[in-house]
Subunit: 257 residues, 4 copies
Amino acid sequence: MTTIDINCDMGESFGAYKIGEDEKIIEYITSANIACGFHAGDPLVMDKTVKLARDHGVGVGAHPGFPDLIGYGRRYLETFPGEVKQDVLYQVGALSAFCRANGVTLRHIKPHGALYNLAARDERVAGEVIEAVLAYDPTLILVVLSGSRLAEMAETAGLQVAREVFPDRAYLEDGRLAPRSLPGAVVHDPAQVRRRMVQLLTQGTMTSIEGREVPLRADTLCIHGDTPGAWKLARAVREALKEAGGTALPLAQGLFA
Amino acid sequence: MTTIDINCDMGESFGAYKIGEDEKIIEYITSANIACGFHAGDPLVMDKTVKLARDHGVGVGAHPGFPDLIGYGRRYLETFPGEVKQDVLYQVGALSAFCRANGVTLRHIKPHGALYNLAARDERVAGEVIEAVLAYDPTLILVVLSGSRLAEMAETAGLQVAREVFPDRAYLEDGRLAPRSLPGAVVHDPAQVRRRMVQLLTQGTMTSIEGREVPLRADTLCIHGDTPGAWKLARAVREALKEAGGTALPLAQGLFA
Amino acid sequence: MTTIDINCDMGESFGAYKIGEDEKIIEYITSANIACGFHAGDPLVMDKTVKLARDHGVGVGAHPGFPDLIGYGRRYLETFPGEVKQDVLYQVGALSAFCRANGVTLRHIKPHGALYNLAARDERVAGEVIEAVLAYDPTLILVVLSGSRLAEMAETAGLQVAREVFPDRAYLEDGRLAPRSLPGAVVHDPAQVRRRMVQLLTQGTMTSIEGREVPLRADTLCIHGDTPGAWKLARAVREALKEAGGTALPLAQGLFA
Amino acid sequence: MTTIDINCDMGESFGAYKIGEDEKIIEYITSANIACGFHAGDPLVMDKTVKLARDHGVGVGAHPGFPDLIGYGRRYLETFPGEVKQDVLYQVGALSAFCRANGVTLRHIKPHGALYNLAARDERVAGEVIEAVLAYDPTLILVVLSGSRLAEMAETAGLQVAREVFPDRAYLEDGRLAPRSLPGAVVHDPAQVRRRMVQLLTQGTMTSIEGREVPLRADTLCIHGDTPGAWKLARAVREALKEAGGTALPLAQGLFA
């Protein structure tokens, strides 16, 4: 494993409300998942964020979420049949208008928050996300939780799939994310994040919360942009990558060339 | 004048709320302006309406409005500099995703309600609408109020412009729409609508509310879909067109071939 | 059983969007559950509906729902701890302002749609609804599904509780509502509705979908205002009440005087 | 002039989005204008902010705005006749529910942003704001721009009116606020703010931007909570008050006892 992508959610401000340190984090990442106005973001923010990514050579992806601004897209929402597909299409289309207006190619799609988690394990929701990508542009890369049912289904459907690993999250023996409620589920120390990433990049494994080495496929590493000091974690990941002799490249270039 | 387009706003339902008789009116028109979720419409409605237009051979356009669902996009809203451009881009992009998913080509853009009226006369807003079309796709047709400042500006900017006339509205001597507050400003009788349209199509004039014949350029005729019995007006317009020996064709085919 | 209340959801229009035949149904009911702007309704509609109820001597209640206009409050939404309580407080307060401005006393609270169903069986949500009523005004009547866990909990908490029965819905042997997916779960024939209500009002029982007579406590009967022809069901219920020698009275007067 | 109120907008966070340093500023003020969910704020934030004010002995008022979260209530919005009245009623009612639940008395109403500015000079909008207060509770204090048309109209209507002065804003000779576009319109230096306030509190005048002493009636001083370091201005105002030998008291106690 010599190249990998580093992605981060971006453009999650809304009107007078600011979230995230996009200008700082953009220095350390290679792909930006840009909010599309349903769980965060607005048209002015989307345009500005696409320009920011473009000017830093960072790949642009759509980051669709549930229509739940007050819950920041982190709450499960019951959906009508077909609604997830159409909501994803709507948001991807909206973001792609800003790509087009700014001379940028849309590269990937990564669902947000509760939609990401639900799509990872619920076959109906996963199926609708896949349908949306197939209908809009089957060459777009779908970013999915490594080891999830969605990862399998998307691959079977012929999509280009990027498996995502979370540098600041602990994993269980079976490769699933350790729930946040478990002690040690979130890794706060940049030095520890760095060590874990060196192991992942050089050996393809993570040490599970139970203490076992677990093989984990990683095409892209996720930085949580809305945690304070996120850019320090991003820097630690870049340092790990350097130590491992690897290179960070945006999704389209790094994975499927 | 042998061919003309007949357009109507469509897809203005929202969730459980229904507005308009899209299934009936679609039989009589050649272009559909589809709401994009800001003043009306939602992703499920947008998808359904694009399919409806496609299945009837009706041209599809985006119908962006102010973000004001409660006011149905009919109220003036102060906007930040650049906001109109980005709001139009967002909505056009969103609708074009449903076009793409359904194998339909997006043909035109027509702003809605207060945004339409404001763009017709306010140079800052007009300029931002034009910028949005240029940035997204300069080959898209912009539907504008015949005789408006926007019509001039869009033509100067090199856009393809379709001048719109309202069959059920009276005009003033100077070619502007008679304000709704004037008696006789709205024509309710389908027979009278038909007579007026025959005159427009054969002689290129409308009789103004003051009684003078006024030359008026018409590339497309607008049916207001949310007035009850709108399909009867639409039928009267089709009959007038037949009587005048003309043909109704969607914007791209009829005007600029 | 000589008196009973007949309630109906009202004021569920929004901006230019109309739902329900409030003016017709108001003739047949004694309590109006008025939407509060989260799942339906807006301030102008709320004011108008409070006046409509007042002018017909119909009791006014708040009808809070999930903040989900696009889903009409019918979809389950994950909530943060305390959010249901504060959302109910917010909506009840908003409606009570229109009561105050129009010289009307707020009498009851009935949660809407998914919130009603969830509160009926989920103890956390039920507890928050009860807390909201206790905090706002412990003399308000809470309308609950007859036989539900919420009914028990609210009574234990010392609230005034009105048990609700649905004239157009079939029941199971254990007193629960038959799911809509079962054949016969919804009764469409007004004559049948009338027969069922006469039985309920004279004998205190309903014949279950399995054919057994089930005792069912009914303080109020619910008419679904958004089904077409709802006023015919409302009329059938009034006729049944007359046949049973009973009287329809608003919640506060009929039940707890 | 020995007592005066110091007010600040509060509770303007929304979901995951934070604005303002409420916990810091609350130490220096005597009245809190709490956002009601239309331009900012949400039910959880409203409840928390009412508790914060209560625990600091700070008077609570409703801070209704235009329904424009994305514009933070700072943009002019065309309104339907009666809409301002009903929007104000809705928001005041919603906030009063949290007052009631927390054992707090609602004392005042202060419109926000564009609604405040429009009500200050537009007689139709001013009239609707006054109607809302009269209909809800005529004993509530209405906070208005000192010297505005609204101030006159509200007094004529028999309302209790609190004239507001902005410590960090320059005034014109005729007593109106100097537009923000003029150099010197906003005073950033806390020491200068303090000097100006000492003059206002001891002599009842402000030195206008043209250099003349202008008499200005001040019942309450406004701190802009969303400017960074707002608490330093608030502290400067408290120091001026101490220097002038005055006392800060919440609206109801200080002005109309």
